[in-house]
């Protein structure tokens, strides 16, 4: 299980659910980040879409190994791509790569080879703009994700199991999401059950709990609920998580609570790492 070839004839699906509620305008807990949570999460998603595009790029163009859906939930629940992709649901990565809403010129600090850092100009494609407005309708967002994944599985029954990554900072405001989460995890391809990743983004300075194998260290019912909604990491992703320096066991869940900046980036990276062929 979780070993299906990812290829153009058997592509993988990633569904991102991005919390766009009002509280996402609060600052990240990490003082080094100095960004509202909505900005940091949008940057992380944009960087991920850029990385996926680069991973699928060959000299003759982009190979559609991946398809991506990007859903924002706050005042409304809608596809969150900007620009030419606005309103689109599942989009092949080649179409994503060739249609960013805009390409910004940004600078990045890189080692100068003499122990210091030097600023380098980079192109930064943007598909998702930060939004924070309204409540946290997580249950309805998960229900929408389920319908997207179910339709995908009808057409791709042998695919690497779709991965749904939910990035949120707060408690749901539309009821218990446990049922919709279970409905997602119960879907399956012939290669295994659909994976649900949950990332809780922090604006509190408390300790982060990363890929836990029990809910014992989690501080409240909300955190324990997110833990129980999250899939157990399959072996291929478990190995990669370990490689990134996290202490994990075979029972570790695809869940980070109170995650800081580095955890957000790594969490997304782990969730989008099936093997390419």
């Amino acid at each position: 299980m979780y070993t299906a070839e990812v290829s153009r004839s058997n592509p993988a699906l990633f569904v991102f659910l991005v919390d766009q509620s009002l509280s996402m305008s609060d600052m990240m807990a990490d003082p080094d980040t100095a960004q509202p949570k909505k900005d940091f999460v949008a940057d992380a998603i944009n960087r991920l879409l850029s990385d996926l595009s680069i991973r699928c790029a060959k000299e003759d163009g982009i190979r559609d190994y991946f398809h991506v859906a990007l859903i924002g939930y706050g005042r409304e629940i809608n596809p969150a791509f900007g620009g030419a992709l606005a309103g689109k649901g599942v989009v092949p990565i080649g179409e994503v790569a060739t249609n960013p809403a805009r390409i910004e010129d940004r600078s990045k600090k890189v080692p100068d080879g003499a122990g210091g850092l030097v600023e380098m100009k980079i192109k930064f494609p943007v598909w998702l703009d930060p939004v924070s407005d309204g409540g946290t309708p997580m249950s309805r967002a998960l229900t929408l994700a389920r319908s997207i994944v179910a339709a995908w599985l009808d057409e791709h029954p042998g695919c690497f199991p779709p991965v749904v990554l939910n990035l949120t900072d707060g408690e749901p405001t539309d009821g218990d999401p446990a049922g919709p989460a279970r409905a997602i995890r119960e879907l399956a391809s012939t290669d295994g059950n659909v994976l649900l990743f949950n990332l809780h983004v922090s604006s509190n300075p408390g300790p982060a709990v990363k890929f836990p194998d029990s809910d014992a260290a989690l501080p409240n019912q909300h955190a324990k609920a997110l833990f129980s909604m999250s899939s157990v990491l399959p072996p291929i992703m478990l190995a990669y998580t370990r490689q990134l320096g996290y202490a994990v066991t075979e029972d570790s869940r695809s869940f980070v609570f109170n995650g800081g900046a580095e955890d957000i980036v790594k969490f997304i990276d782990i969730g989008t790492r099936p093997d390419l062929r």
Binding site: E59, T98, K123, P125, L276
Partner: protein, 268 residues
């Protein structure tokens, strides 16, 4: 050894068209300037496997074959191999410039998502083998150098005599040593470079193959099922048989779905 004969067999990975084939191979039969008049029989074979994760991998593989086939150096030495590799690295920017020009001419200039891959460079394995003997056909030998997991097998009748650079099928993994288009420091190259040599007897068959088929040959030999012997028997007219064999092995999950190249040398 009389005049050795060479046959090449290739098959792209399943569901991939030929333009995406990222292995390459070539052979050259000539008297090198460095050989004395007493050594008129000479054959050099080069096999490469471009790493699919890298940009322009197929072009880098073809570039390596072109440079190594015509290298005047003794490639079965560290210095000779390093000199040929450095020449390939120095000529690579012209290849990248050609690629950019081709894209411009097709009105599809290089986009932002291609730049990181081009900056990182292309990667490939490389195997070079040389066969030679004295004018009277005596003292026939092979010598080989390799970076990565493209392999050479020396067979005699139904025996697999030698395997280079690996002796066990379990040695094949997902991260072979690779030659990088942007250069590698001398210490790293020396650490990855392997050499071997052996004597040839009349009728010996040498099989040179990229990793998927190489791993299968060793596994087949280890399990004593002798399936690998089918490869020794293939001649130029047997290409459909090669395609059937590889497709069947892939279908049964016995061979990794990867570009597959086999160069068969009959020592004569």
């Amino acid at each position: 050894m009389s005049r050795p004969t060479v046959c090449t067999f290739r098959l792209p990975k399943r569901n991939a068209p030929w333009p995406e084939y990222e292995d390459d191979s070539g052979w050259l039969r000539s008297k090198r300037e460095t050989l004395s008049d007493d050594d008129p029989r000479f054959l050099r074979v080069v096999v490469t496997d471009g790493a699919s994760e890298s940009m322009l991998a197929g072009r880098w593989a073809r570039h390596l074959v072109a440079v190594f086939l015509r290298a005047p150096e003794d490639l079965a030495t560290k210095d000779g191999f390093a000199a040929a590799y450095q020449r390939a690295v120095h000529a690579w920017p012209d290849e990248v410039a050609s690629y950019r020009r081709e894209r411009e001419e097709r009105n599809t200039p290089v986009q932002w998502y291609l730049e990181p891959g081009l900056a990182k460079g292309a990667y490939a394995t490389l195997l070079v083998a040389e066969f030679r003997c004295a004018a009277d056909g005596r003292g026939a030998q092979w010598r080989a150098a390799a970076v990565g997991d493209s392999s050479l097998f020396q067979t005699r009748g139904d025996q697999l005599l030698r395997s280079f650079p690996f002796e066990k099928s379990t040695a094949f993994g997902n991260q072979p040593a690779l030659l990088r288009s942007h250069g590698t420091d001398a210490a790293a190259l020396a650490g990855n470079l392997r050499f071997d040599a052996g004597d040839l007897a009349p009728g010996d068959i040498l099989l040179l193959a990229t990793d998927a088929l190489s791993a299968w040959i060793l596994k087949s030999s280890e399990e004593g099922d002798r399936q690998w012997q089918a490869l020794s028997g293939f001649n130029a007219g047997d290409r459909p048989g090669f395609v059937r064999l590889i497709a069947g092995l892939r279908e049964r999950g016995e061979l990794k779905n990867d570009d597959t190249t086999l160069v068969r040398v009959n020592a004569g």
